[in-house]
């Protein structure tokens, strides 16, 4: 049984359909990637998985349970946590308040101090800045805060949307190092990236999304060697 699987998923906004017949799965442990260019529908796919955009047809199963009809907070309660582009942070609250809110669910709220210790161990910068307003953080720090906040909800699966977006190359490496680190704490990761090179280096398997459809899937080695991926995404 897969941790997350989608079968024949279609969705869109109003009359414009964005995703057609998407099927994919994520097994427990490790990192799975979804790559695609701007406007391919990557973010919409994540928003559908999180319940922010209703699915028009198809099904989503998480930990053996259908979730496509659930509202977003119910999905978070089941252990599926999304970090949207930009981190999904609350700009007029301190870093510490943001992290605490990450543990909003009652069972997480009770063990807030252990979770905080873990997050501060992973991201010492956040501890240094814990009393600073989140809106005043740099792009890289915001991304870290977003990931830290996501971890506070002790998720089974973390969906991360474009962690490299808007960051300098040096910071991108750091954020990806952080993501690898998280994986060691029994968190499965679905990584959605425009930056194909980085994504395939991190993930064991990946799907290629183009114009709202999955056009390719395979292990990262297979995809790196695939002619279409090399031409369209890696520029080789």
């Amino acid at each position: 049984m897969y941790l997350l699987s989608a079968d024949g998923l279609s969705c869109g906004y109003g009359h414009s359909q964005v995703l057609w017949d998407i099927s994919f799965h994520v097994e427990e442990g490790g990192i799975v990637g979804i790559i695609g260019s701007n406007g391919a529908g990557k973010t919409t796919l994540l928003r559908t998985l999180s319940g922010l955009v209703p699915a028009q047809s198809g099904k989503i199963e998480f930990s053996g349970e259908r979730i496509e009809h659930l509202s977003p907070h119910k999905i978070v309660e089941r252990g599926l946590s999304q970090i949207p582009e930009g981190g999904g942070i609350f700009p007029y609250m301190t870093v510490l308040e943001n992290l605490k809110l990450g543990a909003f669910l009652p069972w997480n709220w009770k063990r807030i101090s252990q979770s905080l210790d873990l997050v501060f161990e992973l991201f010492s910068t956040l501890e240094d800045r814990k009393n600073q307003m989140a809106g005043t953080l740099s792009g890289g720090e915001r991304q870290m805060l977003g990931i830290g906040k996501g971890l506070m909800s002790s998720p089974k699966l973390l969906l991360i949307d474009e962690p490299s977006s808007g960051l300098a190359p040096k910071l991108v490496l750091r954020v990806f190092d952080n993501i690898k680190e998280i994986q060691k704490h029994n968190v499965t990761i679905l990584l959605v990236e425009q930056n194909v090179q980085y994504c395939l280096n991190m993930a064991s398997r990946a799907y290629v999304l183009e114009n709202g459809r999955i056009v390719l899937e395979g292990t990262s080695e297979e995809l790196i060697g695939h002619e279409h991926v090399r031409k369209a995404y890696l520029g080789i």
């Binding site: 907070h73 970090i83 609350f90 007029y92 609250m93 809110l101 909003f104 669910l105 906040k149």
Partner: protein, 290 residues
Amino acid sequence: MFTASILIQQIVYGLVIGSSYVLMAAGFSLIWGIMGVLNLAHGEFYMLGAYIAYYVSSLLGFNPIMSAIVAMAAMFFFGIAFERALLSPLYGRKGWEMSTVLITVGASILIQNLALVIFGEKYKGLPMYFEGELEIWKIVLSYDRLVVFLVGIFLIALLWYLLKYTRVGMAMRAVSQNQEGAYLTGINVHKIFYLAFGLSAAFAAAGGALLAPIYFVYPTVGAGPLLMAFAIVIFGGFGSVKGAIVAGFLLGVFESLVVLMVSSAWKDVFIFVLVIIVLTVRPRGLFGIQ
């Protein structure tokens, strides 16, 4: 001319009224910040709070503090019922924020007229509960006003604590800052909506209930405070509770100084001229975002 002690006395009176304004405006601002709803029936929550306090006090003989607590509790549930019945069916529809303006105006008219039918048009006043007055350095303050002021301050501090430190209060702030982020944090946003609405109604009711022993109660008594809440929220910054607290006290004092130096007939003119100036010079208000 007036002496320094009269001036100070008037400032103190301004703070007393200001505390009631803050109770009113903080909830008004909270609902705007969290839900994006301009609740034009907020004055009716104030009015209902005042009537509940009046009846509890005159029929059951409760003291003003107890009657304010009863009014707050009753209006908390009334606020939730209001949100569930009238606002929640609109969420997610096209242009729903605008529809809420019409719905709340309609509800305001309806509640006012029901109050007229049920409670009558007569002004109702309560006798002084705590007799006597406090005198320090020639400043005279009746115990009734003193109690209103202290309870008001306590409630404002309570609201502040609630929003700043409790789990639900933090979630309310989160929803107001980034609604989608709040959903993804596992916050049940619609539940936060109705809890905030109940809270806002309870605090408006407290404002009305606390002033019931000092002023009269009548069906349209909420209109003035609603207008004032508008002025305060513009002055303090839309959606900012901190702004509502600071601006509420400032405008309360400003109003009583205008009453002292010019005349009570001119106080609204002065207040709204001030609001127009703020809107021109600093449209986001003192603590507004952006």
